[in-house]
């Protein structure tokens, strides 16, 4: 075989279906809420969804289990939205690990991400060793983050992905990834309910093969938005009417904007409340307003219509507070302050002051992470521990009114029923809630065609997709559609996960590749008579055609239709040929021959019998080499009857006929392998036929 495909070097050929195996491993958010990070790998492509921290912990403990994976192998990292539990370990991952892939998020997410993390670094009061990253890392990470617009399709190394509106917060996205035709939807946090400023999560156009879905709300059902809003405003109204103070601990971004829109509108409709101040204690949120004002296109039509007249994010009844020092606690008021979990900071300071007065109220508007004070006071304990370590009675009213923009059970089950994904993987939910959700979903999809999984952190879900590889034969090669049994030979070009077969001449037409011919011309000093060369070549090569060069009139020879030997001058001859392995070899031997003549060493012609003998020797040698190579490939190779070789692998036996190359045996796979291996060995050790084409 002339082609170098005869090379013995071959890829590890997996007998398993490794190539079709799809692995999903939560590195965080598996049976827990916080530090979302899901690893996925299929067909050698690797994707990481989200890169969060667990806000309840600090330092390394807050990170997802990055040590489970090799960050350098990840092709693409997709961030769904800016919340800390989805994006906050990104600077660490980008700057402190070997990750070298590409990162994508939406425009709004990127703009807020920077503000939010810078604030996070400033606020979190941890020791220097515990600092995962600093402001410098955040700024550096900004250069590496690429932006993607909703619905925009991006392709990286054959991985196609695009995103849909997720509803949850401004810029939140659900990512759909397409690898070799297998589609995976990662919802991140999503909400199917339109609120005051955000659109509801879209229903993807295509049904995914796998849906990795959040399960924060478990089997809970949300009250309708109007009831929630009414409860919220009623509690506030009655509290301030009685002279109490209302504390709303909320995360600075996301729900806070929604609540402010509600309050501003309520105040506008109730003039009697105009003397009661509403404060918004977050410089961060103030900074982010510019982002909210700009990415109007990511919001719903209501806001976009309002925007045409005036900016809905310029509040008329709400003022901003920069710090607790600016706050004069003189009478009833409404204060929204971060953090939402009451761990520390402004909201905690106010809580400590206000918690023992029963006129006051605290409204917890969203999801509370396990282990935070907000989660504790929901159960209305008699006493709480203040920041200074003392305990105080908890007299203030605590209301939990969920405005969390996470899909509830009704939304989740309708969403899944619309999509009908054959595989559902639950993440981002507290273990018990998740279990209940799983049970309930089983009852919704009773036909058994749907697999529902809830892996723990670092626990891999393995799925198999035996997708057929399709190729398109195009160009000259496709002029005639072949029938069964016809052969098709050509160049197979693989780009991403698409295959094309074409004739070599068409390569430049249908791909960016091109073929080349390399013409070689070499001059050799030779001062003898040209006739000598003609004579010697004639003895060695089967076909030597003499001719005369048209231009110079000097004699020329064509050896095997490949190499032209020409007399250039008295002292030089030249060889010209078009590169390919055989021609190169022929030309080498001509060169050797010419040099030998030049050396004028009298040569004795080797006798015939030696040649015969060596042929026999060669034959034996070939046998030996074939045997040795087979042994090195298959291990157990024995000489059987009729000169057949018996090859045993894992109890499967194949009989190989060395003469014909025929293989007999039970196991198809083994048979095929032996046949191919033998074929290749033969083409490597047997003489090369000169008559290629």
């Amino acid at each position: 075989m002339a082609s170098s495909s005869a090379s013995l070097k071959r890829r590890e050929q997996p007998m398993s279906r490794e190539g079709d195996q799809l692995i999903v491993t939560p590195l965080g958010a598996g049976n827990e809420v916080g530090r979302s990070c899901v690893y996925m790998s299929f067909r050698g492509k690797t994707i990481l969804f989200d890169c969060g921290i667990n806000p309840a912990y600090s330092g390394m403990a807050a990170l997802p289990y990055f040590d489970e994976i090799d960050p350098s192998t990840i092709d693409v990292l997709l961030i769904t939205h800016f919340h800390l539990d989805h994006a906050a370990s990104l600077p660490y991952f980008l700057e402190k690990t070997t990750f070298k892939g590409r990162v994508f998020m939406t425009h709004a997410t990127k703009a807020i991400y920077k503000l939010l993390l810078t604030d996070y670094v400033k606020v979190s009061k941890v020791s220097v060793e515990d600092m995962l990253f600093d402001e410098h890392d955040i700024n550096k990470s900004m250069d590496k983050i690429e932006v993607i617009d909703f619905h925009q399709t991006v392709e990286v190394n054959g991985i196609k992905f695009w995103c849909y509106t997720a509803g949850h917060v401004l810029g939140a996205a659900m990512f759909m990834v397409d690898i070799a035709g297998v589609r995976i939807l990662y919802t991140g946090d999503y909400s199917r309910e339109e609120d005051r400023h955000l659109r509801a999560a879209e229903l993807p156009q295509f049904s995914p093969d796998i849906c990795i879905i959040e399960s924060t709300s478990g089997v809970q059902l949300h009250q309708s938005r109007h009831i929630r809003e009414k409860r919220f405003t009623d509690v506030i109204h009655s509290t301030v009417a009685q002279g109490g103070r209302v504390l709303i601990p909320a995360f600075a971004l996301g729900r806070a904007q929604e609540l402010l829109l509600i309050l501003d509108e309520y105040w506008a409709n109730h003039p009697d409340l105009h003397n009661i101040p509403i404060y918004y204690a977050s410089p961060l949120a103030k900074k982010c307003m510019a982002v909210y004002q700009t990415y109007i296109l990511s919001m719903n039509d209501r806001i976009r219509n309002q925007f045409a007249n005036s900016n809905p994010f310029v509040f008329k009844h709400i003022s901003a507070l920069n710090s607790i020092d600016d706050f004069r606690d003189v009478g009833p008021c409404v204060v929204m302050a971060s953090p939402g979990g009451l761990q520390s900071g402004f909201s905690r300071q106010l809580f400590d002051i206000w918690c023992s007065d029963k006129r006051n109220a605290c409204i917890i508007p969203g999801y509370m992470v396990e282990g935070t004070l907000a989660k504790t006071i929901i159960n209305e304990p008699k006493e709480v521990t203040l920041m200074n370590g003392l305990t105080a009675p908890l007299n203030m009213q605590v209301h939990y009114i969920s405005f969390s923009a996470h899909a509830d059970y009704a939304q989740t089950s309708t969403f899944l029923k619309e999509l009908m994904p054959p595989n559902i993987i639950l993440v981002h939910g507290e273990a018990n809630e998740m279990m209940r959700l799983k049970q309930k979903l089983f009852t919704e999809f009773p036909d058994g065609n749907t697999r529902i999984m809830n892996p723990k952190n670092c626990e891999s879900v393995e799925l198999y997709f035996n997708s057929e590889k399709m190729a398109k034969t195009i160009g000259r090669l496709a002029e005639k559609t072949p029938d069964v049994g016809d052969s098709v030979s050509g160049i197979l070009v693989k780009k991403g996960f698409t295959y094309q077969i074409m004739a070599p001449d068409d390569l430049h037409v249908f791909s960016q590749l091109s073929t080349a011919t390399v013409t070689q011309r070499i001059t050799i000093p030779f001062s003898g008579a040209f006739g000598v060369i003609t004579h010697r070549l004639g003895k060695i090569f089967e076909s030597v055609d003499s001719s005369t060069d048209e231009e110079t009139g000097l004699p020329a020879l064509k050896v095997h239709e490949r190499v032209t030997v020409k007399q250039e001058s008295e002292k030089h001859i030249s060889l010209q040929w078009s590169s390919d392995p055989i021609s190169d070899m022929v030309s080498d031997s001509i060169v050797a021959l010419v040099l030998n003549i030049s050396r004028e060493v009298p040569k004795i012609i080797v006798e015939e019998e030696v040649a015969v003998k060596s042929e026999e020797e060669n034959g034996k040698k070939v046998e030996k080499v074939i045997y040795a190579l087979l042994v090195s490939l298959f291990g157990d190779v024995k000489l059987g009857e009729n000169g057949k070789l018996v090859i045993t692998v894992d109890g499967n036996v194949a009989h190989l006929d060395k003469e014909t190359g025929k293989v007999e045996g039970e196991h198809e796979g083994l048979k095929e392998r032996v046949r191919v291996a033998f074929h290749r060995i033969q083409s490597a050790v047997k003489p090369i036929p000169l008559s290629a084409e």
Binding site: H107, T473, Q520, I524, D580
Partner: protein
């Protein structure tokens, strides 16, 4: 066989007329752009009117009149009802452009081709896509995927990729490969070997693009030179397209130099335009979105530019040198025309054109070399009716109402007289036409009324049912004269300023709801004056059109190297030039169809699909080459359960094939590679690469072509027998894959 593709231009081939092309893909008709020009000549749309009802989808590429101007008219009058696809900025800025066009027209004529409502309803159902969004059509277009990609010419400007069964049709007009302040360059180069490329040859002969920073310096110097001697600078601009780039240049320069000269941006929709543009950051250049992400600086928070939406504000502005950007760029209507007339006779002033005016417009005339010394201009003003006229109008309105009521009962009678009536109708207005508009209203109004009440239809009164049309006809005639540049008629100018703008003033305050501006129903009329304007101000033209120039067009097309190329939108000369160029060096199938000439660009590509069996694939060893991997396969067709052909390994040893070297050798890269290996290497004459002392390497065969269209590469290596020779040959081989 491939997907059937036919292209037939409806407007805008072999000239600079607006763009509008019909592309039919397997029977699904796409209307690519739906443009009109500033003259609003309905005759341009005749070809469109013949096919409008068969259109299945409209794709818009840029938010200016030339690309979408005819949309409201076509939707209203020509029966176009297909869904429209555009990017969000094209939709929004296109809408504003049309508002501006309408309001500018309405101010100076009884413009009746379309109304604000028509514009609204035309744009209401635009389906908005983002860049690189693959939108799958459904229904009749099942299997077709459309996607807009960055074109670079205007904000949101798109080149469209239409894909069916893996065959790509790319429509790319007015693209710009250069990155600008507010826009990224086009991504057209990233499309390789589409089946069909439909592109314009507009700039094919224009190759004199100066470097952008030189151009900017010159631009700003010219402006400041005139400002410093106390002159005013007028930049006639489009409503919401290229003007954005100019605003950024001026804004940036003004902040650097701390200039105190005011800049005004004056269109009917300027404040809405900038408000929307501020929220389109994700469509702009990387640097703009980056600066917002890191420092929340919105580039379109203009600190030095004052946005104006009526001319009174400009007139009230403190006197002194100023820069005014006003629409329309063609000077055919809009504020720019008024300002031009006012400023033209002062030699200190400057009118700076940033784009070539549309053919046959005042702007184009002024751009000719040498510029004309005098131009005849018809200035028209809308003035509210007063006194007698108003009374007459009101009577007229009452009469019309009564007429409406009467009409129902008169239908039958009219029908019987129909054969006689129309003749009278058509002749009568022509007679009255010689008089001025208000005369007509004043004297004839009562007469019509009486007669109609009586129910008689005598010759003079038979025009009455046609009254509204008659009024328009008269004005249309006048308007027609206005827009024909060869036909300027002379009158004098005085009734201007305060009175006429009183209306505009009040409405202008409504700002955001500019749309409602002209819903004002106060009776008014249009008065035209013709005057000769002495052009003593400086006229300068600079290229801020934001299109790739001729050389870049050629290299871009060569890079894309489509299998078939269709050329549109350019002068006959430019079209022919690019056609010849492409035929010679890009692809053998170049078409430049005439209007309503259908060319079939169905690809003659043969293709069939096969399944690659697991057995075959397990024995294929891919070699990585750039983005793709290649391998040689020998296989035979086997059977599968389904209809599909399946490729399986050969049963017997495959016949050996001719070895193929795959790879693309760039001499420059190879030189680097060799020197990194310690070989002395340098370029000798004639593109030959001299390696070491004796060995030379050169590319032979057709040279000077980019892209892979030229066929296989031919490389010649020669030298004497020496070690170097074999070493270099090995290096050379290492650049290729042998299959």
């Amino acid at each position: 066989m491939g997907t059937s593709v036919q292209v037939s231009p409806l407007c805008g081939v072999y000239n600079e007329n607006p763009l509008s092309y019909l592309v039919s893909i397997d029977g699904f008709n796409f209307l690519l752009d739906c443009g009109w020009n500033d003259l609003f000549d309905p005759s341009l749309l005749e070809p469109l009117s013949r096919v409008a009802s068969t259109v299945d989808a409209v794709l818009l590429s840029h938010p200016d009149t030339l690309h979408l101007g005819a949309l409201p008219y076509a939707m209203k009058q020509l029966g176009l009802s297909a869904p429209v696809y555009a990017t969000e900025p094209v939709h929004r800025l296109g809408l504003l452009t049309m508002y501006d066009q309408y309001l500018s027209r309405k101010q100076v004529s009884d413009f009746d081709l379309f109304t604000l409502d028509d514009i609204d309803s035309a744009f209401q159902n635009v389906i908005r896509l983002t860049f690189s969004q693959n939108y799958h059509l459904s229904g009749k277009g099942e299997g077709i995927v459309i996607a807009p990609h960055v074109a670079g010419h205007m904000l949101g400007g798109s080149i469209w990729k239409i894909t069916k069964d893996g065959e790509e049709v790319v429509y790319a007009v007015d693209y710009n490969h250069r990155k600008e302040r507010h826009l990224n360059g086009t991504v057209l180069q990233s499309f390789v070997r589409p089946a069909v490329l439909i592109t314009d040859a507009y700039n094919a002969l224009y190759t004199n693009q100066t470097q952008s920073h030189h151009r900017d310096t010159e631009f700003l110097d010219t402006i400041s030179k005139h400002l410093e001697v106390g002159g005013n600078v007028l930049l006639p601009v489009d409503t919401a397209g290229r003007v954005l780039e100019l605003l950024l240049i001026l804004e940036q320069h003004w902040s650097q130099r701390a200039f105190s000269f005011p800049i005004y941006f004056l269109t009917y929709v300027s404040s809405s335009t900038i408000d929307y543009v501020k929220s389109f950051l994700e469509w702009m250049s990387d640097s703009i979105s980056k600066s917002f992400e890191t420092s929340r600086d919105n580039a379109f928070l203009l600190r030095h530019v004052t946005l104006l939406i009526n001319k009174t504000d400009l007139d009230n502005a403190p006197p002194g040198p100023k820069v005014v950007l006003a629409s329309m760029a063609s000077l055919e209507a809009g504020f720019a025309r008024d300002i031009f007339v006012e400023w033209a006779n002062d030699p200190r002033n400057l009118v700076l054109f940033t784009e070539t005016g549309q053919f046959g417009t005042l702007a184009r005339m002024l751009q000719s070399a040498p510029p004309p010394k005098f131009v005849k201009v018809t200035m028209s003003k809308r003035v509210p009716l007063a006194g007698e006229e108003l009374i007459a109008y009101e009577e007229e309105q009452n009469r019309l109402k009564r007429e409406e009521a009467l009409r129902a009962s008169l239908v039958k009678e009219e029908e019987t007289k129909a054969s006689h009536g129309p003749d009278e109708n058509s002749s009568e207005p022509m007679v009255v036409d010689t008089k001025t508009t208000h005369d007509v209203v004043g004297s004839h109004g009562p007469a019509y009324k009486d007669i109609l009440i009586d129910g008689f239809v005598p010759p003079s009164s038979s025009a009455a049912p046609m009254f509204p049309f008659y009024d328009n006809t008269a004005d249309w005639d006048e308007y027609g004269e206005v827009i024909n540049p060869d036909d300027y008629v002379i009158k004098d100018e005085d009734m201007d300023r305060g009175a006429m703008h009183a209306g505009g003033d009040v409405d202008g305050r409504l700002d955001e709801a500019t749309a409602s501006l002209m819903l004002d129903t106060r009776p008014s009329k249009v008065i035209s004056n013709e005057l000769i304007v002495t052009v003593s101000c400086s006229l300068v033209k600079m290229d801020y059109e934001g299109r790739s120039d001729g050389r870049s067009i050629k290299s871009t097309i060569a890079h894309v190297s489509p299998l078939k190329l269709v050329l549109v939108h350019a002068t006959a000369e430019a079209t022919e030039h690019l056609k010849q160029h492409s035929l010679n060096s890009i692809c053998p199938h170049v078409y430049a169809p005439k209007i309503e000439e259908t060319v079939d660009v169905t690809s003659d590509l043969c293709a069939y699909k096969v399944q690659l069996s697991e057995k075959l694939m397990s024995n294929v060893i891919f070699k990585k080459l750039g983005d793709s991997e290649v391998a040689w396969v020998d296989s035979e067709v086997g059977k599968t359960g389904s209809e599909m052909r399946c490729l399986q390994p050969m049963g017997s040893a495959a016949a050996p094939h001719k070895p193929v070297l795959v790879g693309d050798l760039k001499m420059q890269d190879f030189k680097q590679f060799l020197s990194s290996k310690g070989v002395q290497v340098e370029f000798a004459g004639g593109g030959a690469l001299r390696c070491g002392e004796y060995v030379t390497l050169r590319k032979v065969g057709p040279t000077g072509q980019k892209g892979g269209a030229s066929g296989p590469q031919q490389i010649l290596i020669e030298g004497p027998l020496c070690e170097d020779y074999y070493k270099i040959r090995d290096y050379l081989y290492s650049q290729f894959y042998l299959l």
